[in-house]
Amino acid sequence: MPDVIACRNLRKYYADVKAVDGLDLSVASGECFGLLGPNGAGKTTTIEILEGLTESDSGEVEILGLTWRKNERELRERIGISLQETQLTEKLTVFETLRLFRSFYRVGADPEDLLRDLSLDEKHDARVGKLSGGQRQRLAVACALVGNPDVLFLDEPTTGLDPQSRLQLWDIVQRFRQKGGTVLLTTHYMEEAQRLCDRVAIVDHGHLIALGTPAELIAKLQARNVIEFTSEPRLEQAVVEAIDGCAGVTAHREGWLLRVHSLAEAVPLLINTVEKQGAKLVTLSTHEATLEDLFVSLTGRELRDA
C-alpha cells in the first residue's frame, strides 16, 4: 500500500531563513504522524506545503497518490485542514459556520451529527465570537472533518488550550483514527506527540533530526530517567560526566540535566560526587525521560525556549 502522505527533498527558503531544508517524510494509511519541534523549526511551512497552501521551492509532494498540481480539487474534497490560527467569522453561529463549510463538499457529514460528536451541540446557536478557546478549536476541527476526509491535517491543534480542552481534542483525533483516518499534526508539546502519535519526526531549523515511534526515540537516549540538579558552586561538566551510569549531560539554567538509566544507582553517586567536590546540593528533581529530553540531548536546547 502506497503512503498516504509522501514528500521528498522538500525545500522552502525565505529571504532570511531556510524554513524547510531538504525534508523527506512518509505517512502510512491509518497512521497518526507528529511533526515535533520548537517554534520556528519549519513545522508550519512544512504542513502548509503538504496541504497545498504554500509552494515549495523544490521537492515533490504526493497526497493519496495525487499531486497538487494535477488534482487540486479532488484533493481538497478528500483532506481536512485546521490551520494554526484561523478566526472564523465571529458573527455567525456554530451551526451556521459548519453548514457553510459543509456546502463546499460534494459529500460529507451532517453538521448536526458532527456537533454532537464534538460536544458542541450545546453551543449550536452560539455566536463564534462568544466561544471559549477550546470550543473554537473544536469548531475548527469540526470544519476540517465536515467533508468526511481521508486525511486530517492539524497545525498545533492544542496550543494555548487548557488541559481539559486538550484531552477533548485528543479524544476527537483518536476517534477519527478509529474510523481509519490518517492524521498529520504539528505540535511543540512532547506529551501530545507521545500520547497521540504512532511516529514522530523531530525537526529543527528545517531539518529532520530524529524519526521513529515515541518509544524508539526515547530509547535513543539510552537512559530512562533524567536528574535535574543545581549545586553551589556549580560542578564542572567533566565531573558530572564521570559519574557511573551517566548517559549524557546538558547544561540547564544554573545546573545540569543528567540522563541516567537507574535512579537508584545514580542518585547516591551524584550526592557523593557533590560532597567530594566540597559543594552543596541546592535543588534535585527527577523525571522519566520524554521526547523533550531527546530534543534537549539532540540540540542542547529546550523546546520551549529554542
Binding site: 497552501l53 481538497r76 484561523t86 455567525l92 451556521e96 456546502s103 463546499f104
Partner: protein, 348 residues
C-alpha cells in the same frame, strides 16, 4: 441515511452567511442607513425653503435720515439701521451692511458692486425712496413666482447622496470584508476547502444587491416623505441603475482590497480613491463649476456617471435610453475592476 440538514449550494450559503454577518454588525448598519439619513436631514434643513433674509443697509445720520429710515422700513426686503458716519463706514467695510444711504440733499448710495446683494439692495432702496418722494409707476406689472419641484437644492442633493452612499457602502463592504478575512486567515481557510474562489466573490455581490436596494429605497422614501423629493422617472429604471452603479463600486472595492494585507492599508487606498469623487463628482454642488478642460475626466468618474444618471431619472424622468451611456460605462468600470481584482487577488 438521508441528511437531516438541508445544505444549499455553496454560493447561496456564502451569500446568506455574508448577509447575516452584516445584519449582526451594528456599526455597518449605521454607516449604510443612519449616516446618509442624518446627512440628508442636516443638509435639507440647512438649505430649506424660506424667504430670503432681509438685506441690512445703513442710513447715515443727517438732516434727512429720519424720513429715509421711515421710508426704508416699509420695504419687505431691506433691514435699515440708523448709524453715524464712522460706524457706517466700518459696517460697510466689514460686510455687516450691504449698502449705505448718505448725503444731505442728494441721496448717495455707497456700496461694493461686486457683492451680489448690494446691487439689489441699491435698487430696492432707490425704488422705495423714489416712491416716497412721489414717483408714480407707469406700468402695472403682475408677478408670478415659480417654485418648481425638481429644481430645488434638496432635489439636487438627494440623488447625489444616494450616489455617494452607493459608492461608500459598495467599496467598504467589499474592501473591509476582504481585508478582514485575509488578516484573520479566513480566506486561507476557505481556499483550503473545495470551495470555488469565484463563488466566494460572486456571493459577495449577491448579498450586496439585497442591501443596496434596501439602502436606496430608504433614502428615496426619506427624501420623498420629509422633503417631497419625488422620483419623476420609473422606479424600475432607478433599481436597475442602483444595481449597476452599486456593482461598479463593488468591483472597484474588490480591486482595492485584492492585495492589501491590513485594514489600514485598505482604508488608506479607499479614501484615496473616494476623495476626488466626493469633491468632483457633483454630490453637494454641480461639477459645472470646474474648468472645461477637466470636465471630460470628471464625467467618466464612476460617481459622476452614477450621479448624473440618478439625477436624470429622479429629477428629469429619464428612461433607460437616455441613461444608456452612463449605464454602459458604469458596467465597464465594474467588470474591468472585478476581472483585474480577481486576477491579482491574494488569498493568504
Amino acid at each position: 441515511m438521508p441528511e437531516k440538514t438541508r445544505i444549499r449550494p455553496p454560493i447561496v450559503e456564502l451569500a446568506l452567511a455574508r448577509t447575516k454577518e452584516f445584519l449582526r454588525e451594528k456599526e455597518a448598519m449605521f454607516w449604510v442607513f443612519g449616516f446618509p439619513l442624518i446627512l440628508a436631514l442636516a443638509l435639507g434643513f440647512a438649505f430649506r425653503e424660506k424667504p430670503p433674509d432681509r438685506i441690512p443697509v445703513g442710513v447715515v445720520a443727517g438732516p434727512n435720515a429720519p424720513q429715509r429710515l421711515a421710508a426704508l422700513q416699509k420695504s419687505k426686503t431691506l433691514l435699515p439701521r440708523l448709524m453715524n458716519e464712522q460706524e457706517a463706514r466700518d459696517a460697510l467695510r466689514r460686510g455687516k451692511v450691504s449698502l449705505l444711504i448718505e448725503g444731505s440733499d442728494t441721496v448717495v448710495y455707497r456700496f461694493d458692486a461686486t457683492r451680489p446683494d448690494a446691487l439689489s439692495a441699491r435698487n430696492e432702496a432707490d425704488d422705495v425712496l423714489q416712491a416716497a418722494a412721489g414717483r408714480r409707476n407707469v406700468l402695472a406689472p403682475r408677478e408670478e413666482r415659480v417654485h418648481e419641484q425638481g429644481a430645488r437644492y434638496i432635489d439636487f442633493l438627494i440623488p447625489g447622496l444616494i450616489g455617494m452612499n452607493l459608492m461608500g457602502t459598495g467599496m467598504w463592504s467589499m474592501g473591509f470584508t476582504i481585508a478582514n478575512a485575509r488578516m484573520k486567515k479566513l480566506l486561507k481557510r476557505l481556499v483550503a476547502t473545495p470551495m470555488r474562489k469565484t463563488d466566494y466573490l460572486i456571493s459577495m455581490f449577491l448579498s450586496r444587491s439585497i442591501w443596496l436596494l434596501i439602502e436606496v429605497s430608504v433614502l428615496v422614501a426619506f427624501g420623498w416623505i420629509v422633503f417631497g423629493v419625488r422620483v419623476n422617472g420609473s422606479i424600475l429604471v432607478l433599481a436597475i441603475l442602483s444595481i449597476v452603479g452599486g456593482y461598479a463600486f463593488s468591483g472597484i472595492g474588490l480591486l482595492t482590497a485584492s492585495r492589501a494585507q491590513t485594514i489600514e492599508a485598505v482604508s488608506g487606498l479607499m479614501n484615496l480613491i473616494m476623495m476626488p469623487m466626493w469633491l468632483c463628482s457633483g454630490v453637494f454642488f454641480s461639477y459645472e463649476r470646474f474648468p472645461d478642460s477637466v470636465k471630460p475626466f470628471i464625467r467618466v468618474l464612476p460617481l459622476t456617471l452614477l450621479n448624473d444618471a440618478l439625477r436624470a431619472v429622479v429629477n428629469d424622468a429619464a428612461g433607460l435610453p437616455q441613461i444608456s451611456l452612463q449605464l454602459g460605462l458604469l458596467a465597464v468600470w465594474g467588470i474591468v475592476t472585478f476581472m483585474i481584482g480577481l486576477k491579482i487577488f491574494r488569498w493568504q
